[in-house]
């Protein structure tokens, strides 16, 4: 075992000392020193996708967050009901920055909070009647809505409501699909199961039900891009410029129709593997559509991904792909020339969800920065397997990390930049550690594609090199 690995393992032991024994034993399985070669074996692998320990602050959310907040929420021409008490919809309202074109409240409903606002009587007597009435009222007040989804909150499953039957009845009565989603927050261990449940509900109620006039050999789906700050648009620009025809975006700026015709594509391109691999696997089995993972963060990975995608097509696409790379490379080189000297050698700690803990590593490397620690809120084994080779030996990997662990690791590893979420952001500000939100891009973006990388570089630079950090006067003890 190398010294780099041993050093990190020692660090992990130190940080775990504060835990009660049972929790220490449990948490130790979720922390590891990276071994990109795989020779170190299971002691360098983390356990994942298991329950968080009660009472230990977790950053994870719930299945509802995974379905309403991530997969379904961005589908813009559908009304998503937060079915149950008022809070879940309130806290997830207009917060994820899934950009879309459309007129909100008229033909698009993405940034609205629509809820059955359960009261005690609904818990006692059941909410099915109310749900029926609510669907009728949606149809009346939002006549251009193309469908309705019922995003279940915790009580729905506990009180035994039959939302499936309401959905069937209302689909018939209203003439638009009414889709039940069993994403109650207590299901599973994190957002992750919510993604899966949402994928399955799209599969069962939407996919394959639409018509597309003509097909071309270049039809693809852009999957697992939620258009945060316009990411999917920046990605689509690349795909179109290389000659592909994107027939559906999943699910940033998506319409129900796009999801319904996606089975006509020749190839599925998947960015966020974690949240949408399910539908890709299904389309592969049911329709024989191959799928390929790609990474549009930072020029190195973008070039690599463009060539990988092009390899599925003919010379026409391959040539266009090369032309495009040649066209954008000077611009990317210019961005690197500008920012790299200011960021060279800086170290980064990441703790995010979905695809980012591994996908942004290359973009940081393009700027001369090194990711020394990373981890997933709700990753599975297959995410970690894809991550180990991306990092140096001895890099720290954490799964479902707690704020306590993150803080302790930060103190010891002294990164120049931390990338995580809103719940972590201000603790790092207090600690005087430059921080960027890597879920919402800190209200910036896009970060995907050729148009996104300059924004990414600018943002990392502004935070790492901002003078405010120097104003902090440490408390005298």
């Amino acid at each position: 075992m190398s010294t780099a690995i041993k050093k990190t393992q020692k660090l992990i032991e130190e940080v775990l000392e504060s835990y009660p024994e049972k929790t220490r034993k449990e948490r130790s399985k979720h922390l590891a020193a990276n071994d990109p070669t795989g020779e170190c074996g299971s002691s360098c692998h983390v356990k994942s996708n298991v329950k968080s320990r009660p009472g230990v602050m977790t950053i994870r959310g719930c299945a509802y967050a995974g379905s309403k907040g991530v997969v379904w929420g961005p589908v813009k021409d559908v009304v998503h009901i937060s079915h149950g008490p008022v809070g879940c919809g309130q806290y997830s309202w207009w917060s994820r920055r899934n950009y879309y074109n459309g007129i909100t409240g008229i033909d698009s409903f993405g940034t609205m909070h629509i809820t059955s606002d359960f009261q005690e009587k609904d818990i006692v007597f059941g909410g099915d009647k109310k749900l029926e009435q609510l669907c009728r009222e949606i149809k009346e007040l939002f006549p251009l809505a193309k469908g309705i989804t019922i995003q279940s909150e915790c009580p729905i499953g506990l009180i035994g409501d039959d939302i499936e039957s309401v959905a069937r009845k209302m689909t018939k009565e209203l003439g638009i699909p009414v889709i039940p989603v069993r994403c109650e927050g207590f299901r599973g261990v994190s957002q992750s199961l919510g993604h899966h449940i949402a994928n399955d509900s799209i599969r069962d109620h939407v996919l394959g039900k639409g018509e597309m006039e003509k097909s071309t050999p270049y039809d693809v789906n852009l999957i697992g891009d939620y258009n945060i700050g316009g990411d999917a648009w920046a990605s689509r620009k690349i795909l179109e410029e290389m000659g592909l025809r994107v027939i559906a975006q999943w699910s940033g700026d998506a319409t129900l129709n796009e999801l319904s015709i996606a089975n006509k594509a020749r190839l599925n391109l998947i960015h966020c593997y974690r949240s949408m691999n399910y539908i890709c696997r299904y389309m592969e089995e049911a329709y024989g559509i191959p799928w390929v993972e790609y990474n549009f963060f930072g020029p190195t990975k973008i070039y690599e991904s463009i060539r990988k995608i092009a390899s599925y097509f003919d010379d026409y696409i391959k040539e266009k792909a090369e032309k495009m790379i040649a066209k954008y490379k000077p611009m990317m080189d210019r961005v690197i020339e500008e920012y790299r000297p200011r960021l060279e050698g800086k170290t980064v700690m990441l703790y995010v969800g979905g695809l980012r803990p591994r996908h942004v590593i290359g973009a940081y490397e393009d700027l001369g920065m090194e990711v020394i620690a990373t981890g997933y809120e709700f990753g599975h084994n297959d995410d970690y397997k894809r991550t180990y080779p991306e990092l140096k030996e001895g890099a720290l990997i954490y799964d479902d990390a707690t704020p306590y662990e993150l803080e302790e690791f930060t103190k010891r590893m002294k990164p120049d930049l931390v990338g995580s979420g809103i719940k972590e952001k201000y603790a790092y500000h207090k600690m005087g550690v430059p921080f960027r939100q890597m879920h919402s891009w800190d209200y910036s973006g896009p970060y995907h594609g050729f148009d996104g990388f300059p924004v990414f570089a600018r943002d990392m630079d502004m935070t790492v090199n901002n003078p405010t950090w120097n104003l902090i006067r440490r408390r005298k003890i």
Partner: protein
Amino acid sequence: MIRLKIKDHNELFHEQEYLEQFERKREFEKPCSADEIEKVLEWTKTEEYKEKNFARQALTINPAKACQPLGAVLCASGFQNTLPFVHGSQGCVAYFRSHLSRHFKEPVAAVSTSMTEDAAVFGGLNNMIEGLENAYALYKPEMIAVSTTCMAEVIGDDLNAFIKKAREQGAIPSELPVPFAHTPSFVGSHITGYDNMLKGILSYLTAGAKKRPNGKINIIPGFDTYTGNIREIKRLLNLMNVLYTVLADISDVMDSPNTGEYRLYPGGTPLDEAVDSINATATVAIQRYSTVKTGEFIKEVWGQEFIALPMPIGISNTDRFLETISKITGRVIPQEIEDERGRAVDAMIDSHPYVHGKKFALVGDPDLLLGLISFLMEMGGMPVHIVCTNGDKNFEGEAYALLSKSPFGREGKVYIGKDMWHLRSLLFTEPVDFLIGNSYAKFLWRDTGTPLIRIGFPLFDRHHLHRYPIIGYQGAINLVNWIVNTILDEMDRKTINTTSFDVIR
């Protein structure tokens, strides 16, 4: 310095190549036609749509309220070295922490018992025991304040029995205070949860602590997300030489200094003071609707005088607050505060021409609305649409009584249990000049063009507003500032390139 011009989302997506991309995408969207959209858009502005909108029975759209445990977490965080602990699903706690952090721009600590399917079947006892054990060991709190999510409430978990069991099993020391409150999210709103948690904490801490009167008064801010308000109350009481305890004092917790270290418990009401609150002369709450149960408890169980005042927003409410404090403590209101009053009144007089006769729509929590109605009428502003999603009949009655006291209140109409989509209709059918509400209300500005003055909770899209008081005479000056300068900005915007584009206003 950087020489590259970088375009982010603010500019990129207005560029021709993106506009063309969006057009190409429509082929797959099966969008509604421009005609259809235009027709429906115009229809939503009509009286007919308003009637349909107000006729709905089951559907809630863009409500201005959150759920009980959010209020419980905020309340619990206002006690020193106290860990807010929520029994139920873990996603809720992630949401509370995010929501509060987005408003305060501060770290928010809270833990969950992370209940999942098995707990749904067998109950959450094991989660509670392990949760308390871990939370105590890791976060070393002096108090753990337990509230619940709707999951735990629906399955009927018994907090009292569970916590007792945890002590018996040695998960937590027997002397560790673990107050609790049942906070079902399907009853009331965040203000109810605040009330329940505060009552839970006070009843737990003060049990058996009755001694001789300590000569102090207690102040309960209520569900108030202006850290500046609490600092202002303390400043005023200090100027009056009043001995006091602020209960659930979030000011240093949700607005802590940057010292290069993260502190889990940066402030809050000291626990010994909270224990001693039972021995105060009186308790003054400066919100009524978030302190109903706590007030009953203080009166009935403590046998202490409990005075629930309107929020000291505006001149008369602040007068009343200071006079009440003076009366119960025997302290005089010093000249310094009297001078502040004079300055606030002076500011209001100076700015009155721009506010007089202007019509306002307001949306927010009941106590905030009552304070703002009073303040606007003091300046000759006219509250017209008053929407209170979490308002009850008492609020409605009180609001009408207040409106009837001034000729400027005669057009005021109070809508309890209604949401911001109802307000959207009202703003189209009976337009007003200005809108007061939280950040979410910006959709109303977008849709109806009614300029928004951001007062309330949450405030996500403007920075630092919550650091400024809106109560006391200083708060009145801040309100005049925000309101009149929004009015003047709007006037400039409307008169740009006309002769009315004046430099002196």
